[in-house]
Symmetry: C5
Subunit: 306 residues, 5 copies
Amino acid sequence: MIIRQRENWFKMLFVWKGSVLPAILPRLGLLLLISVGVVFVQGRLFEYKIPLNPAAFTLLGVALAIFLGFRNNASYERFWEGRKLWGALLIDTRSLTRQALTMTGLPADSPEVLSFVRLLIAFTYALKHQLRRTDPSEDFQRLLSPELVHQLAKARFKPILLLREMGTWVQTGKEAGRIDSITQAAIDHNLNQLSNIVGGCERIASTPIPYTYNVLLHRTVYLYCFLLPFGLVDSIGWMTPLMVVFVGYTFMALESIVTEIEEPFGTEPNDLALNAISQTIEASLLEMAGQEVPKALKPKKKFILD
Amino acid sequence: MIIRQRENWFKMLFVWKGSVLPAILPRLGLLLLISVGVVFVQGRLFEYKIPLNPAAFTLLGVALAIFLGFRNNASYERFWEGRKLWGALLIDTRSLTRQALTMTGLPADSPEVLSFVRLLIAFTYALKHQLRRTDPSEDFQRLLSPELVHQLAKARFKPILLLREMGTWVQTGKEAGRIDSITQAAIDHNLNQLSNIVGGCERIASTPIPYTYNVLLHRTVYLYCFLLPFGLVDSIGWMTPLMVVFVGYTFMALESIVTEIEEPFGTEPNDLALNAISQTIEASLLEMAGQEVPKALKPKKKFILD
Amino acid sequence: MIIRQRENWFKMLFVWKGSVLPAILPRLGLLLLISVGVVFVQGRLFEYKIPLNPAAFTLLGVALAIFLGFRNNASYERFWEGRKLWGALLIDTRSLTRQALTMTGLPADSPEVLSFVRLLIAFTYALKHQLRRTDPSEDFQRLLSPELVHQLAKARFKPILLLREMGTWVQTGKEAGRIDSITQAAIDHNLNQLSNIVGGCERIASTPIPYTYNVLLHRTVYLYCFLLPFGLVDSIGWMTPLMVVFVGYTFMALESIVTEIEEPFGTEPNDLALNAISQTIEASLLEMAGQEVPKALKPKKKFILD
Amino acid sequence: MIIRQRENWFKMLFVWKGSVLPAILPRLGLLLLISVGVVFVQGRLFEYKIPLNPAAFTLLGVALAIFLGFRNNASYERFWEGRKLWGALLIDTRSLTRQALTMTGLPADSPEVLSFVRLLIAFTYALKHQLRRTDPSEDFQRLLSPELVHQLAKARFKPILLLREMGTWVQTGKEAGRIDSITQAAIDHNLNQLSNIVGGCERIASTPIPYTYNVLLHRTVYLYCFLLPFGLVDSIGWMTPLMVVFVGYTFMALESIVTEIEEPFGTEPNDLALNAISQTIEASLLEMAGQEVPKALKPKKKFILD
Amino acid sequence: MIIRQRENWFKMLFVWKGSVLPAILPRLGLLLLISVGVVFVQGRLFEYKIPLNPAAFTLLGVALAIFLGFRNNASYERFWEGRKLWGALLIDTRSLTRQALTMTGLPADSPEVLSFVRLLIAFTYALKHQLRRTDPSEDFQRLLSPELVHQLAKARFKPILLLREMGTWVQTGKEAGRIDSITQAAIDHNLNQLSNIVGGCERIASTPIPYTYNVLLHRTVYLYCFLLPFGLVDSIGWMTPLMVVFVGYTFMALESIVTEIEEPFGTEPNDLALNAISQTIEASLLEMAGQEVPKALKPKKKFILD
């Protein structure tokens, strides 16, 4: 956000909310305990001195850098692709509304145009509910005709059936002689785009990063962290707990963030604001169609999407 | 998957299924044996002390990082591009079904529309069978007319012939006066997309990452791992086997994963779920066409693609 | 810029303007003070010697490289995508002007064409003002009819309503028999592009890089820098302040740059020159339409965009 | 290839064919000789001891990683883009064949359709011969009319003239009343794609990675390798030759691979299989057109592209 | 270039032309002098020993790797995008020529077609001259009518006005009844592509990589290099000058290359061959239009673009 106030560099060090620190605190605590114990026994386990040093850990840096770097980039790309798809949804529903308003030969305030706009809004909510596995019936009831609500209730791929409805709406206009084949093709082009969006979201939701990667990264990070106290204790003594927890924090926090954002359609703090985007789409389409925008859809003062 | 239960960080350390550990265990065992032997003889081979140290291995880190990083990224891109192509298949077959239902002047429940939908489903299975080199005749027999099945049996590029059949189907509609040139062009645009998908899959399947890369990476990893015990034994003594096996595990496991996913159309654990996607396409197209969806196509409770 | 004079390599070391040095100077000063203090007490805090060495900091290099590298790339991509969107705005408004001049059957100097060109210019300024949250009414008043200015004043998504106006303008031409469906579809294609640009800019403006990343990077960088004097003092003595400030400068300056460019639509020194681009668009469209270009829009000698 | 047999990890260490080892063996031999010499004189040159150690070489790691990583990625992208362009050639020639068969109002087995298909096949071979600077006349003679062969013989941009012929073929159909403007535009869209492919291949073939990069990388790698023995001899003694040759092998082999694949249209072992792809295109188009596919075009058992 | 002779690996070490060595030689000389001086005084400045060692420089490696890696990638992307845009220019002007020859109902050798082809060639040169800020009037005079030359002389955005002329040319054909709306739309699609190319080139030319990055990288590299002798002198003695100059060469040479290629439209050795590409476009379009290609446009034996 452009006008988001820059945070003071000092205060930012102690941010609690919006940090993943709370989630990984227990593990860091355990790591701290172990480090303190290792310092206490001077790196000995029973009688045996564990002979480790930092050089051995440096060799593991290559693997760690590749695993963490890859998983971070792949996860962020999934997050950003999800955001792009929902941005495209805003774009395409607006384009379709503009086409319905100016290319179908219908007056801008006719009920037919409004019913098409409602199909677009219902499509948006249907996609949101499918991705979050929540119940869309409430949104459907306020936007669609009872028959259509009934028909959708049994369907598995609800947004796709709404797309078919839009196709039928255009065909009705064509049969009534208001829309010719060329305009139909232009609208159909944008319906194809909506189909792309549904398919793109389904792809992200249904195909995670291969699980094997996660296991491999996870094991490497944790084994590395829990062996590290033995590697540092000889050279940095009682500073070992501090440095081990510092290193552990960077790795565990990164793993924690990417696990959140690699499934961008969920409801965790760093996931996409699907609710806010859906409401923005509804507000924008209603405004275009000259409708009153319900107050609930107006952005709060600090609302992130405008 | 959004509702996939997050795993406990501790349990995840001991995952067996879905890890590549079983596949590389023999090699790791060998590496362990050698390391133990090296510790036992204190890094001597016969009379000679092997004078290696960690610094020499650090110099190899640059090459290792480039080889592993490159191969990992290139392989994952192949995997993800394969997934995108199959996602596009779902998208485009749905778009074509919508066009057949709403733009061809045919009633939605006419047998002509259904026969077109069946061509699309058969196309999906034909592509799957071509990529996996399996026999498509069973799927063809339940979906296509006997003459077409017979004609396809002799063909080398089966999905392409099915695309031609779709083109002919549209042309028949045009000759019957139901479809005009504009609608034909709009449908043809989506047939071009299907052609893109076939070509894209064939490209991935027929052009692996140049084999020379694999040889170079493979040699570097294994030579590095089997020399490493001599480099560590002087500084970390009897911890050498643990650290060597740890380092070896990270490198060998990564090589093992990327070898699986760089050929994404196979049937190994981390390959794409082409069966599940094909069934989803069939279910979705039948639902759009108002057909009964066979029970076998309904997703199991833990089915990954929805 | 091609003719930008290359700077002498020596002078470039002492550049002040256009560097982020001023912004981070206080922090670097603090870091310098602490370093000098650490050297003075020889790395002791009260009675205790802080036992740190460079090796411990090398282990943190992996995390630092990933965090800084990722944030830098992601921010620059946002910056460059924002620039691409505004470049596309220049491209598409020119294409629409060309279409209005040569495909609508209107003479090139007719008031209708000029009013369309003004809609395009107003659209450009509307987007700029929305992204910077400034008041567009002055620009609207010099470009649009009073009724339209009034209508836009209440609207939340102003550029979108201007797009609808353009659609209506085309439809008017169609109803007057000057434009057929095909030309309408060709113009509509470019209106879709404008819709893409609005949506793309909104996406960048409303969805920052997840805040958690920034916190994680910020903490790692600062904790690293402020611990570093203790790690270096034993080996490089009174050179510690120099090296610590040098390292701190590279990290803090990078963090400072990326924080500027990741919100590319702002008004900080490294943000995009939206004013200059808007004026270039206005000048280019007026020139195409054969209009006199106001002197204020002509580039100054060192104007960056030509 | 999916069914490509996975190689045993142990055997793969000793692969000879398909490795770049033969090409760089002389240089590695020279490096071995020098290393042995350095060990023999204990790092002395005449009377002077060369005082180098591994730490100095670690500092060069950053530059080496950037140079090698960049050149490798840029070269592989060129290789893969070349492959994508030839994949697109397969896709677009198939799409054009489908259009000729089903949208031009000609019976599928008419000589006009076949002559168009032959233009497409000739286009494929013309592009291959242009990229490899070989003589296309033999392929032209078996596919095209004598006049066209004669006309092409003098031309510099042969594939482009064949594209113009295809445009003329379509125009002839339009003048005969079999093709309307819309179908012409749909075919023209695919002809544009073929134009893209020619231009894309010419771009890769005519603009190598700036030569200065290669010189810089080359010098850095070789100077590094030939200085390395002096840096290692003090710490690892008679193991120096082994480690130096190992490090040298990784760098020189990588440079050797990328030099091959950055010009993907050549005829070196790792270049693209343009012959095989051309034959696949010919076979696929003939099959679509219902023609007998010559036996020579059928894939051998281990043929890579299917 | 495919047939470019591979250079012998040994000779390539001593390449002078096409290397950036000459440009940075003075700086490297200065660095050499300083290093020799540091060795001479054994790292002392007046009475004080400068206590630096390689470990402190290793910590700077992270920042250096990020700065150099980023700037190199971003610059090369600009270079390659510029090349892609000029490749697209070749592609689109050819496509438009094909359309003018086969879709406008004009005989291939009519003066109208030739005048359109000349507009395309003039457009190419106009873009080249705009990007290099050179005078296009000579090229305009041999290609365009005197009135148009006069009209363009006063214009600021010359290629854009030529695009408008092309639009007018098509409209003239439509008014004469030779071109229908559909063909007009197909040609208009390619005119949009030309508009994209102009806008893309202007974007690269007018928006450099933020200057702050360059300052930051420049300072880091030079401070690093000039401090390095003090860090190495204790451990490698009189080899210090060699290693310092080697390290300095890699960093300074890279900075020098990227500064050249990040402005790809200039006339430095590694910039794009805009003259050669423009001449290739002219030759290719004239050949397509059946015109005699002037001898000056024929490629010399070693001409890079074919």
